[in-house]
Structure formats: C-alpha cells, structure tokens
Symmetry: D3
Subunit: 282 residues, 6 copies
C-alpha cells in the first residue's frame, strides 16, 4: 500500500497562509497587469533533478485555492522516483491563476520532495539491513505534519510527533531526577498504557542500567560503530535500539551494519535542500 494521503483539512490552513504571505495586500500585480484574464495554458510540473516527489496534494491545493477551475492530472504520484526531466503532473487552465499560485506551489512541493529525497537517499544506503531511518522533532516550525509525511513518502518512519506522544528521557531529565531509576519510575507511574518509554544513553554503563528498568527503546547517542555493535549485543532484543548523532550518507551503512533497529536523522527534516522542480508552459 502506498503512503496514505493526509486529509486536506490537515494542511489547508498552511496553504492559505502561504498564499496570503505571497499575495500580500495587492495580489500578483505583474500577472494581473500583463496576462489577459481569458488566456489559458497547459503546463507541466517537471523535475529538474532526480529525486522522490512528495507534496502533490499540497501544491495542487495552492492552484485550486487561487482558481478552482484549474485542472490537474497527476503522472507521478507521491513517492515516485523521478529522473531529471520527468513530468510529474499536468496543470491546465487560466494562465493568471497558474502563474499566481506557481511559487507557493513550488515552495511546498520542492521542500517536501527535498525531505522525501533526502530520506530515500539514506534509506537506500541501508538497504539490506534491518535498520529503519527515522526523523526527529528537529523540524521547520509550522511544517511538522507535512515534513513527517514527506519522510514516510521517502521510505522513512516517524519518531515522536511532539512532546506528548511518547516519553523520551534525556540526560537533563536523568540529572534532574537523580538517576535513571527514579526517572523511569516517575514516568511509568503516570503515563497511559499506550505510551512507550525511550531512554537516551551515552555509554554502555548507562545502557546496562537502562535495561534493568525495562524501557521500550534506547537511544544510543553519538556512539561509533563498534560501540553500537556491543550495545546491540547487550540489548539482545530486550529493547528497540536507536542510533543517533553523526549520521551522514557515508557513515550510515556502517551504523546500520552494527545491527541497530533505527537510525534517526535530524538532517532530513531540518536541513534537506529542496528538490529542484519547475513549471513549464507548453
């Protein structure tokens, strides 16, 4: 099954805001001045580089909010691998509407495809291992739901969506609680039965202690591959293992080979460059 789309109401406000951010108080004064209202065209959304497309529904909503009569035909749905010059969709209708919405549409789909492509790139690098690539809460403010969606489209999985959907105990929590044990116990005492606990450890000693307290997952922070390998051995299936820190396209295969279940990357959401896409008028 392909990645299920988000319902439109989950991103409509974001698209409206982005359009108003661009239209300002006077609208597209260039297009309004120059393009006759009756002029129509057929345009192609085209990849200028190879990658993975994500965010078609979001981009297309931009066109439809500016002019509901614009028609769209999708050639490469979200998740498709794109070669340079591939046509992703055909957008036809009023030239005014198309040009007015173009930049916002491209900003969304370029960014989200950038996230999907970056994700896919890392996912491909660990193909053949059991490691899943996951994203973090290091996202662009205002776009978390869409970025997390793009990660899924790129073949990745999602870590927490926010502070409220799982417990993640970090060094500061442990320090303030006076140790791993009280930290875990306090969390376990109050959380719901569908909430899991993950604990960040920096050393194998901490890992040993964490395992005593039965956490669901351990975040193995900034460990090199040999250490990760030993950590995985120590865990021996008693918890999900997540490696984080220093993840790059180059280092990730070695980390995956260490046997961890998950490798988390902030970079795929906070720093992925856009995928270059353009709109060609036929």
């Amino acid at each position: 099954m392909t990645v299920p789309p988000l319902p439109r109401l989950m991103f409509e406000t974001q698209v409206r805001h982005a359009l108003l951010e661009d239209l300002g108080r006077a609208g597209d004064i260039t297009t309004d001045a120059i393009i006759p209202p009756t002029e129509t065209a057929k345009t192609a959304l085209v990849a200028r580089k190879a990658g993975v497309v994500a965010g078609l529904d979001v981009a297309l909503l931009a066109f439809q909010l500016v002019d509901p009569t614009i028609k769209v035909q999708i050639e490469k749905p979200d998740g498709s691998r794109l070669a340079k010059h591939d046509a992703i969709a055909t957008i036809s209708g009023s030239v005014r509407g198309i040009l007015t919405a173009e930049r916002v549409a491209l900003n969304f789909i370029g960014h989200l495809s950038g996230v999907a492509s970056a994700t896919r790139n890392v996912v491909d690098a660990v193909a053949g291992t059991k490691a899943r690539i996951i994203c973090t809460r290091k996202t662009i403010p205002g776009l978390r739901n869409l970025q997390k969606y793009a990660v899924r489209v790129g073949g990745g999985f999602n870590h927490r969506f926010g502070l409220d959907d799982a417990v993640l105990i970090k060094d500061n929590h442990i320090a303030a609680a006076g140790g791993i044990k009280p930290a875990v116990e306090r969390a376990r005492a109050v959380i719901g039965h569908l909430v899991k606990i993950e604990l960040e450890v920096d050393t194998l000693d901490q890992l040993a202690e964490a395992l005593e307290h039965g956490v669901d997952a351990v975040l193995l922070d900034n460990m090199d591959a040999p250490t990760l390998r030993r950590a995985v051995a120590m865990v021996a299936g008693r918890a999900v293992t997540e490696a984080s820190g220093r993840i790059t396209r180059e280092t990730v295969p070695e980390i995956a080979a260490a046997g961890v279940d998950l490798i988390s990357s902030g970079w795929i959401t906070h720093s992925a460059p856009i995928l270059d896409l353009g709109l060609d008028i036929a």
Copy 2:
C-alpha cells in the same frame, strides 16, 4: 546601525503555532513526569559550529510563552559571528519550562541562524566587489518574514517580499503579452508610482530590447561570467543588474567580478542547513 528587530507581534503567532505543534494535546509528558516544578537551572545557548546568529527574539519568545518567569541574558545579539562553543545567551529559571520550550526555540534559531550563516558565507565571498547578495521568494512556507529578516542579519538584502510589492516580468509574462514592449507598457500603465519594474532576460538581445523600454532592473538569468560582463557593459548604469542561477560559494566571486549590482540566491532561504546550536545546563 544593526539590523532592526521585528516587532514581536510580527512573529508571535508563528511561535505560538510552533509550540502548540510540539505540545500537542498533553504537553511535555516526559518533563512533567520527571522534573519537580520547583527545580531551577541556568543554561547556556551555545554554538556547536561557527556561524552567524539570527532569531534570538523569536527563540526567546518560545521560552517566555511557556513560562513568563524565565530570564534571559543575551551575550551575542543577532548578527554576531559565532565561533564553535561560543555562548549566545544565558537562559535561567524553571527547568520544566526550559526543557519544554527548548526544541521549538532551537528549531527557530537554528533555522534562522542557518539562513544568516549561509547568507554571510556568500556575502563574504564577494567582499570587495560592489555586488549585493539578495534572497528570492523561494522561501519555506510560513516563514517568509523571518527568513528575509535572517538574510538581512547575514549581511544580505531582500528582493521582493511577495507578488505585490514590485513587478517582475518573466518569460511567461513576455510570451503571453506578445513581447517585451507590450508587457512593460501594460505594467507601467497600472502600477503605483513607488513600484519598480524588473525584467528577466535570457539573452543579450532580450537585454537590448529591455533597455529600450526603460525598466528599473534587469534579471540576467543563467548567464556565464563573460556574458554577464558584456551585459553589464551594455546596461551601462541604465538599470540595476541582477545575476541569478547557478549561484554557489565557488562560482559567486567570478559572477560578482563581472560587475553586476546584485546576485540572487534561492539556496540561502530554501536550502540552507541549520546552524547547530545546543542548550547546555550548567
């Protein structure tokens, strides 16, 4: 004079949305479970890499919206060049509040400092020439005002903020109008007296035609350095010259040396990686 700050009401909604995006419906369940409400700490916002800081007011608002009693002392105001390990600000008060707001604050300041650092990097590369580095409308949806601010903080200048504050005539407009002349005339006939006209040209022939019609600026798209040099000579001060396309840290000095007034980069807003910052509890 340093770059003037944006009034808080220009970004308060964005910070509130970002916090609610992270807090969800239950808030920071880890911190709430583990950290006693009375626990306080002094923390330092620290650079983990060299760069330029931008967005301190935005980040600090995140802390204050979560807990108005949190105190902040700024060491390196927006625009400061940071060395690795530099302390940017001291944030002290309730540990609960600090940990709850931390990620949103870092997401804002990391991203905006990334934009400022990327900008500064390119600006430095053209030092000694007259070329200004400018940003585009290729921004992250929802963050245009903040990204444009970060560009200024990084030493760059701003191109249009939206479709409504200047005329920029592109190839599609020219094609639909039936030529450069009618396109410019239609625009000039309706715009306000404080609105300028820029025209995109791909060739020197187009440039010659554009100059006949007295536009305020010409966007020289995807020209190599020798062609740019000839274009600048043709323009001879009659219009502002902007080079765009294929701008990288490596190519930009040569482009600047061609004598253009402006070099625009989409990359500094749509693809700048974050500047890595962290919060260290003392």
Copy 3:
C-alpha cells in the same frame, strides 16, 4: 507529585473564545449599566457540593483576561477534595470585572471539576485493586485537552488523545482487513517504534487470536465479570487488559475484581454532570 498544570498557551485560545461567546458585541450590559467602575469586592469561589476541583488556572485566566488587575489566592489547588461550602479561592478586585467574567469562569471550572469528580468517584470505587480508570476519545468537541487533564486530576489515566497517537484496531478494521492477523500486520509494518497496538475483542476466541499476534493491549468489550476473569487468565500478562462497556459506579468494583489492568469510561468525559460551584461576594 501533583498533576502538572498545562501551560497557559495550551488553553488561552479556548478561554478567549468562551469569553467572546458570552460578551458578544456589546459586553456585559447589565454590569456596565449598574456597577460603578471604582467598586471593588472580595469574593470567594465556594463548593456547593462535595467533589474534586479541577480547572482553577483556566477559570482564573477568564478573570485576568477581563481585568488583569484582579487578584486571586488559591486555597484548594486542583485535585483537592472539596466538602460542601469549602472555599476554593479568593478573587478580589473590580466588581465589574469579576461579575463580567464570572459565568465563563464557572462554566469552565464547574465542567472540569465535574469530570474530575466523576473520575474520582469511579477511581475510589476500585481502590484496592490494580485497575486504573481511563478515559476515551468520547469527549466534548473543543475540550479534549482540558477534559483529559481533569481526568488526571481526578486520579484517572488517559487513553489515546487522538487518532494519531496509538493504534486501536476495532471490529470494522478487522472486517475490512479480512481478519485479525492482516490487520495487526499492516499496522505493525508502518507505525513508529514508540507506537503501541491495542486490539478490540468481543469474544474469548478473538482474544486467543489476538494474543497470537502479540498486540500490546487488548480491549475486552462488553464482557461480563466472569468472562473478564477468564480473559485475564488467558492473557496471563502477555498484554495489558482493558475492560470497556457498561461501566457504572455500581458495576465497576466487580469488573476491577476480575483482574483487568484498565477500565475505560466514556461517561466521565461525555456525560459527567458539572460540580456545582458558586461565587459569593463577601
């Protein structure tokens, strides 16, 4: 540790909306006409029935948004058990402000204390067993975060906050998937590593099948106490057990005695009567 408060920004919008809903376009025309602006008073928020208080921060924000100079002193913080006539807080300042905000403040705290009191009532009924009382997604539209908070204040725990923070497979899902096995497998294939799976079963046969597939929790729907007892024995600690359906103050002790881990009640959020509170001017 007492139940941690929600940060103000998590409910400020709700309080503003509720005030504007009551103030309409002309404000409190009775008070404005009759009460001189300089008149001040000291008032006591008093329980008219016994119960558990919840929502003091929410109610107090209503007063402060109408008049920031109103002073509040809390006598019985959230979670306190109230006897009839107990004073919960003292609110003093402008009579105009107090009377204008009174109804909205009471509507919030009366409702939330009603939820907390209903929860506490059921929690007390299962004291001495291991059963926790949990709430559902059957909440009043617009108040889910606050109602879930009130449940915690009343000694209960929270089930899912929304459709997105855990998998709960119900009969319709099983039917559409063609069985328990494919349903569980499809879910497991895509969810994040901190997301748990609960499965609803109506019969012990279904339970047996569910246990084969290793779900984290089972929702034992509408089973009588003897059946629940057999279900708990079958589960034998391999999953968390949740009983739901037909839960009342009268039936809940028997259900708890069956040995389930959790008993979920929609009634404590969708149908709890308010706790009667009033504001007495001294």
Copy 4:
C-alpha cells in the same frame, strides 16, 4: 414549522477544530494502515437508546470535511423522536473517510442529541401547562450556539445568549447599586429600545418592589411551589415569570402547575448526558 437549521458557517470552525483535535499531526494511523483506500461501505447511524436527535448537519459536516465524496441520506431529521435501534441516517462512501470522521461526528451529535433529549424530557413533563422550559448561560465553553440550538430542537426556548442581549439584574447588582430602584433606573437609562430587563428576586417582598419598577420579567429564584403560586398571583400578568433553581424531572410538574410562564434549567445544557448513538457498517 420545524426548527430552522443554523447556516453552516456558524459551526464550520467548531467542526474543523474538533477534527484537528482528533486527527492531531499524523491523522488516523489505524485506519490508514489497515483499510485500503478503495474500500467503500454503507453505514447506518443508529440510536442505541430512545431520545431526540439534534445536530445532524454538524455531524455530517464532519464526514464531508474529511472526505467530500461521502454521501448522506437523512431518515430522521433534527427534532425526530427516536426509539432504540432507529436508523437516523445512512452514510456511505469511503470506509477510510467514514472511520476517520466517525468519533468527531458522534461526539457532536451524541452531545447535542443529549441536550435535546434532556430538554424534551422536561418539556414533556410540563405538557398541558403554559410553562415553557428555557436554558441558561450555564453552557459548555465553545458550544453555546449549538447547545442553544439543541434546546430549541428539544422543544425548549432560549434565555439570553450572552451578557449583551438583555439585562438580567441579580443580587450582586442590586447590592452594588444600593437597591432595586437605582439598579433598574440605571439600566433603563442606557439600554436600547429592544432590550428587556429581568430582575432576580428571592422573596415576595423583593418581588413587590420589583413590580413597582416595571421590569419585563422576574426571575423567582429557589422558591417552593406554594411561594411561586403566590408570586404568580402577585405579578398578575404585569411581568413574565421565570422559576429557577432545584428543577428536576420530578419537581418540575409542580412548579409548572404554580402558573409560572418559564422554568429555566441549567442542567439541560451543562449536565445532560449524551444520547448513545452508533455507526453500524452494513
């Protein structure tokens, strides 16, 4: 004529908020994982208890906002009396959309039907008298317009919608003004010509004084039936009489028999239990 429906724009924001409250940042992860996008079904909205239905438009909007292709056929419009097992509406279309919107739709219609049913129950108890049952401003925050609508659907009438649409002088106003006379005079001096004045009285002496000042209505607070009977006789048609306090299904016939025009109940809005409704997939 049946109760006129509210225009959709009067509740669309509430439905959108409720859906987003449930969908969170990831949407319906269970349904998305398990149900194929092409699966369709026909479902029936069915009463699980007897009562009066209210809020169909609101509930149906929830389905349509999640998936505009979902089709609805109404069998029992708002105001219909329902027997257990009655089918209220048929909802057909995408199973994904139906399951995703189901809980929000049921939360609205269950709550509003609960209000309508509670109202109808009291209205029926006073059948044959002239007494009308009216609601108060003791409503659930954020739902006042919808609850007031549900009261009308249940056969009740509406008291004030907010602080701004009529004058209601209570004991605190009288005390601050220094008596009934100055309170009424101050109000009359400033209100619009379409604004009525009601005055709350606790004793027959106060009532006598109120009648001297020509108020439009008197709120007879917490009086027993014999006192109410004497009050009605004293009023002798010179003002509308409203009884309030201690209203239950048991006491209300006696109160109505005392001859009052109106009986107000906070309970029907602040504490009405939901009407149990469910969605059965055919």
Copy 5:
C-alpha cells in the same frame, strides 16, 4: 456615569490585524532605517478639528502592541468634546515605536471619533425633545462592536447589534408571510421571553394593523413630519416609535418635534467622515 469601556479582549484581535495589515512582511522600513533605536520623544495627540473623541483605548493598544514600554497619559477621555488644537493624550517613549504604530492608531481613533462626532451632532440637534438618536446595522464590516460603542460615546443609543438579538419585521417578511398578522404570530411563537418585536410600516394603515398585534416597537419608514405626528398620535404610547429614512442634520429637528421616541440613522456609522486628529512630536 460615563460610557463604560469595552474590555480589551473585545477589540485586541482587530488591532492586531490592523497593525499586521500595515506592517506587512517587512515592518516600517522607513523608520527602521532612519530612526536610532534609542531615540525617545514625547508626543501629543491633538485635535485638528472640533468634535468628540472616541476610541482612545483602541488607539493606545496599537502603540502598546508595537512597543509595550510606550507610556500614555490621557487628557481628554472618550466622550470629551474637543476644540481644535486640544491635546487629547500624551504618548511618550521610543520614537521608532511611536512612528510605527501612529497610522493604525490614528486610523482607529479618527474613524471612531468621526462616528462619535457625527452622532453628537445629530443628538445636539434634537436636544430638548424626547427623541433618542440610534444607529443601525449599516456598519463598516468588521467594526460593528467598535462603531456601536462610538455611537454611545457620542450620546446616541444602539439599535440591534445583529440579526439575532431582536425581531425586526420588514416588508419582505410581511409579504412572504402573507400579512402582518401571521408574521407577528410566527415570530412570537418562537422567540425568547427577552426578545422584543419591532415592525416596519410604510403607511398609517399598516400602522393601525401593527398596533392590533401588539408589537413592542414600530419603525415608521420614510414618513414626513406631519405623517409622523399622526402616527405618534395613533400609537398613543402603545409601542415605541422609531422614525427612519431621510435623516439629516437639517431635517432631524422637525422629525424629533413630531414626538417620536427614536430616530435611526445609518449615516452616522456607514458614512461619517473621520475626525481629523494628528500626532505632534514636541
């Protein structure tokens, strides 16, 4: 007692929107470029024409939202009659903040004082009669609450605030109902006990019929003074009489002299010119 102020939360959203409408995406680029951040000044809000001031709180909030350290001292509170050159308030603090907020502040207070002044002008013209001047629903979209407040400040009274706070039966309603009688009866059957009924009549025959059905008020539309006089005599105190149509400063004394209770004017809200106010830097 002076006209009670509106609570800030009743207009804060409007002021925020107006500021953002003016600040756009870049803020006050002129002031930011030219005025040093440390520069302070003392300025006087001064009347450039005679009139009545209204909206000080609204205007001052604009300054405070831009810069909370700006200090204000009010010399002429809302409702004061202003002579040309009168100082209304002193605003002191950061020059940047003052200049940035100036136009929005003046737009609010100039408009609202214009409404108050226009109202006062008509009110003065009927001094010595019993006629009250009232406004209508013909208001500027988005400003109804503030315009209605300004009318009160100018000595006028308010007609309906919206479609929902009283019944006003017009010619189209009568036509659709098939006569005055069924129209009034249908309304009376469903409205709340604090809702009044007004009926518009164009002729004395209609008036006679209206009076038979006991409406609370009659709107005598577009009648000349002699006809109004006869209408008032016919009514003989059985209903409130409102004259509307063709109201000007010149005609209003004659209309008032006809003995009507109310004279409504759309002009004072939909067409009142602003009161010219300015900000002088000392």
Copy 6:
C-alpha cells in the same frame, strides 16, 4: 483591460467575519421565524443613487456563504458607472438565504462602491490633466486591501499598501535623522533594489535639498497652487511629484493644473460616504 479581481482567498476571511458579526449566536431570528424554508425569489441589486460599483465579488460571496445554492447574474460589473435605478445584479434563490445575507452584502458593496464613486468623482475632476488620483494609508482598519481595490476600480491609483513596500520620509524622520541628507542616505543604504524613496517637503527650500539627494518622488505637502507650480518647475522631471493636503472636489482641478503627477487623497478611503444600494424583491 478592466481592473483585475482579487482572488477570493484574499477577502474570504473578511466576509466570514462580517457574517458572523451579524449572525451572532442565534442567526437571523426574524427570517427563520417567518419565512418558510422552501420560499424562493428573484431579487435585483439596484442603485438608489448614481455612482460607480465596486465589490460585487465580495458581496456575492456573502450570499454564497450563507446559502451556496443562491444564483447570481451580474449586469454591471465592477467599474461600471451606475445611474439611479440601474440594476447591478440579479440574485435568486432561497428567500431565507437572501434576506439573511442581505445586510452584510450591502454593507460591503455599499462601502466599496462609495470609495470607488468618490475616487471617480475626483478623477473626473482632473480629466484632461496628467494628474493621477492616489489613495493613502488612511484607511478603515481591516479593509485596506479592499479599499485599495475600490480606488483602482474608481479610476485611481494606489500609494503604499503598508509601511513595508516603499520608503516615505516625513518631517519626523528628517528631524530625528538630523536632516534630509542623512535620512535619505540611511534609507538608501539598507533598502532593496526595487524599493523607491519618497520624501515629504513643506517648502521649496526643502524641495531643493531633496532633489540634490536623488529621491524618486517628492510629496509636496499642503502647498497652494502657485507654489505647486513653482515646485513642479523646480523638479523638472527629476522626481515624481505628489501633491497632498486640502484636496477637495473644488480645489483639485487647480492643483492638477499646476502640473503635478499625483494628487493623494485620504478622504476617498477614510471618509467616503457609502453608495446607496438596495435589494428589491421582484
């Protein structure tokens, strides 16, 4: 080419707010009580005075948001000159919907047509000269985009839309900067290449100084016609000339005859009376 329409999303929020402002919490209680839901009618939007129509799309959206089945046929599109009694559009459908939306629709179109008519009136008065009539930032809060649009429809042009789209240096800026020269230099140093600079001058000496610094436009404030004539001669085409202050229908021809390029009027936006329009049921 006619004035291009604004995309619906640029004013939809304003129309929704205006409708909710009028509908309040109970909706149109008069129409709902009296008009049967099945009643339909055909109505004509008619000019009651001569003028220029503006805002049809805005008004029609009001009808469609209340009832999407209402049909509209436009006879006189925006910009048409209207004679008294001219039919502007036919609106047909549910009487309930039409009457409920009528006032909001008329408030928008009456106001915007008032602005367009006032503008056209002044524009006609300068016909035959080169002077353009332009509006200012003295607009009604919340309506700037729509008022600016109405000015264009009336044949005028737009000055700045906000503080951020051009530099306008006024006396306070000059005073704070210590002269015209530093003020202009500071602005030029930081603005974008598409941002123009205008400078306000009160005397010819100031004008001389301004011209030395090469500003794009000069605002000649409150000069009489002979002085304006000398100013235009001094400028000699080196800057755009704008006259402002004391602009009336009577004085404007003389000012235009002085040879200025632009004449700005605050009155056409802040004080234009509405154009009287009505809805006649056929």
